[in-house]
Amino acid sequence: MTPFRVALLLVALCGVAAWQVTVIPESLMQMTVGPVLAPGVIVGALSVFAVLYGVSAWRGRQADESQAPDQSPLPGANARVLSLLGGGVAFIALVIPLGFVIPGTLCGMGVAHAFDAPLNLKSAGICAAIASTFWFVFAQLLGVGLGPALPWVI
């Protein structure tokens, strides 16, 4: 992942956006400015900025924090990122069937693991406590709609 690749991603995004702009159905209503003008202008401007950024990145003039002196990542960076995102995925996949607490615990464990906490019982315990507390305070006491805590009742 280098700045140049980011620029490429951006340009690709602009391409998709431009395609979407062309797909906007024409409105039969009469108006000075239709639904296409503003998105079109924005996509155009963003494309220009993206190209400028890409050119500048190609010339090596763009920042990448991973290269900065004491900012470079310690080994295992990608694993940590994936662990955090994995926690998120676990929550999304499991919250509807399993209620809030279990997916919340798994999510918390994923995040903690991303910060170098081992995936053990202690982690599970702490995260379960966090998730349960949040559920109790917010869903039970305050009525925020978090769904059931667990898929069964003890």
């Binding site: 409105s27 995040v111 903690a112 910060f115 995260c127 559920w135 925020v144 769904g147």
Partner: protein, 498 residues
């Protein structure tokens, strides 16, 4: 001074021990729910409103006031401490506030936020008492053309938050504007950029984007770096928790200026609290004697926007009470709340239901005081949060953010969006793209486009309407001045000095 006497009368009714107690309860509960990222004041009030129906009539108002201000303050607390804006209006606070916290100045940041909110709330209540009719008339003069010009002015103000590189800041702004276009077009009903998904028909919620970019993005970046856990705690707490003399000296003017921004804009329909915070930040940066501190923890950058935020919250009350027009989602819910309390808003309100309304206004002021009294001592408690070891702290932050976003919309799609924005935030952080312009773009794009097209329809297609209408024209002129002014000024200085 009839209004003043009536206000005193209201105070007499509101200031009783049980009433005050319920006020404290309301404040505490409001802050608690407001702390949940993704649950802004509107939803907080909607959720906690039923609680107020169970308490005695005179206490209802004060409890409500406590909830209202508590919700606003809760969002600021997490902004400062955890870089997790609890609501979109707290995003600007996070910019400087969190930087201050990371330098060990969390206490000062929280204190200036609390005191600034109090000052702004007081000014707001005073304004409500004495000048409400004029402000409302002025707010009525703001039509779509004026809104569009205000948006243009705000885009210029965004330049203050563009960060180190203008190009990267513009990319972020452009991306935000593009994301703001997602959803159904108001004028024609055509879906745009929705890829056929019904969840996207209403666009991307700003709070989801803000929490994702700031909280999840930051966590991802720090996890990627892997250094957090080595130091053992998230941030050092050095020095006292109280504001120093220089802090006070640097804060008090931003408080007043922020309140001046927040109050009128809050009174306008669709004004909202985000715009005033942005304009306040811009102003403080330009006027500050320490501009280089901005981006690294300048206290003015917290004082001004927080005051603006709170003043906007008070400003919202004016059209609400005098005309029955809710100018934001929060106001709409307050309208239902007031109707539940038996207050019939509208032009006849002050003449027909005088004592009830003044009790409400007095209660709002008391709620403001309670907030200050309750939260200042709690600052040291909140700040202790930062001592939790990183794995558990961030686990807590992510889980609470997930809970907030999930609970606000009961939608798993939004949680997915949260993490997508988190990933985006990580990329942006790594390659030094500022996050604030994206959020601003997300907010401004739909409003700006909508206002522009409404204005054009009203003026039968005349583009000159933005310049020929006096108020709109002046705003455009100010925007132009701010844009080219500095460059012109430098040119002039160079010429005269050579």
């Amino acid at each position: 001074m009839e209004a003043f006497d009536a206000l005193m009368g209201g105070f007499a009714i509101a200031l009783q021990p049980t009433t005050l107690m319920w006020g404290f309860v309301g404040c505490f509960v409001g802050t608690l729910v407001g702390v949940l990222p993704g649950i802004g004041p509107a939803l907080t009030i909607a959720l906690l409103l039923p609680l107020t129906y169970h308490v005695p009539a005179t206490s209802m108002f004060v409890m409500f006031a406590g909830i209202y201000y508590g919700a606003a303050y809760g969002g600021s607390t997490t902004s400062i401490l955890l870089n997790t804006p609890g609501e979109s209006a707290a995003v600007v606070t996070a910019l400087e506030g969190n930087k201050m916290a990371r330098r060990g100045r969390a206490g000062q940041a929280l204190a200036t936020a609390a005191i600034g909110s109090f000052v702004a709330g007081t000014i707001g209540t005073l304004a409500l008492t004495f000048v409400a009719p004029w402000v409302v008339e002025a707010a009525l003069a703001f039509g779509p053309a004026e809104y569009f010009s205000l948006m243009v002015l705000s885009v210029v103000a965004v330049s203050a938050v563009l960060g180190n590189s203008m190009l990267r800041g513009l990319v972020a702004l452009g991306l935000g504007l593009l994301l703001g276009m997602i959803g159904v077009d108001l004028q024609t009903g055509q879906p745009r950029f929705t890829f056929g998904r019904p969840e996207l028909l209403d666009g991307i919620e700003v709070t989801v984007a803000a929490v994702g970019l700031f909280a999840v993005g930051e966590a991802l970046y720090l996890a990627w770096q892997g250094r957090e856990s080595k130091t053992g705690e998230v941030m050092k707490l050095s020095g006292s928790l109280w504001m120093s003399k220089s802090d006070w000296a640097r804060s008090w003017k931003p408080w007043f200026r922020g309140a001046l921004f927040g109050f009128p804009i809050g009174a306008m329909p669709a004004g909202g609290a985000e715009l005033p915070t942005l304009l306040s930040y811009y102003t403080e940066k330009k006027l500050s004697k320490h501009p280089e501190e901005f981006g690294h923890g300048a206290i003015e950058g917290v004082a001004g926007p927080e005051a603006a935020n709170n003043a906007a919250a008070a400003g919202v009350l004016m059209p609400l009470l005098t005309l029955g027009i809710p100018t934001s989602a929060t106001a709409a819910i307050m309208l239902s709340a007031f109707e539940g309390y038996g207050i019939q808003t509208g032009p006849q309100l002050f003449s027909q239901q005088g004592s009830l309304v003044w009790t409400l206004i007095a209660s709002l002021y008391i709620g403001n005081v309670i907030l200050l009294v309750l939260n200042l001592p709690l600052v040291s408690l909140w700040v202790k949060l930062l001592k939790i070891p990183p794995p558990w702290l961030y686990a807590g932050i992510i889980v609470i953010s997930t809970a907030g976003v999930y609970g606000a919309g009961n939608s798993v799609f939004n949680v997915g969006l949260l993490f997508v924005f988190g990933l985006l935030g990580y990329i942006m952080r790594r390659f030094d793209f500022p996050a604030a312009p994206l959020i601003v773009g997300l907010i401004l794009a739909p409003l700006g486009e909508q206002s522009m097209r409404q204005a054009l329809t009203i003026s039968q297609g005349e583009w000159s309407t933005f310049f020929t209408r006096p108020l709109s024209g002046s705003l455009m002129a100010i925007a132009a001045l701010l844009l080219i002014g500095p460059a012109l000024w430098r040119q002039l200085r160079a010429k005269t000095s050579s």
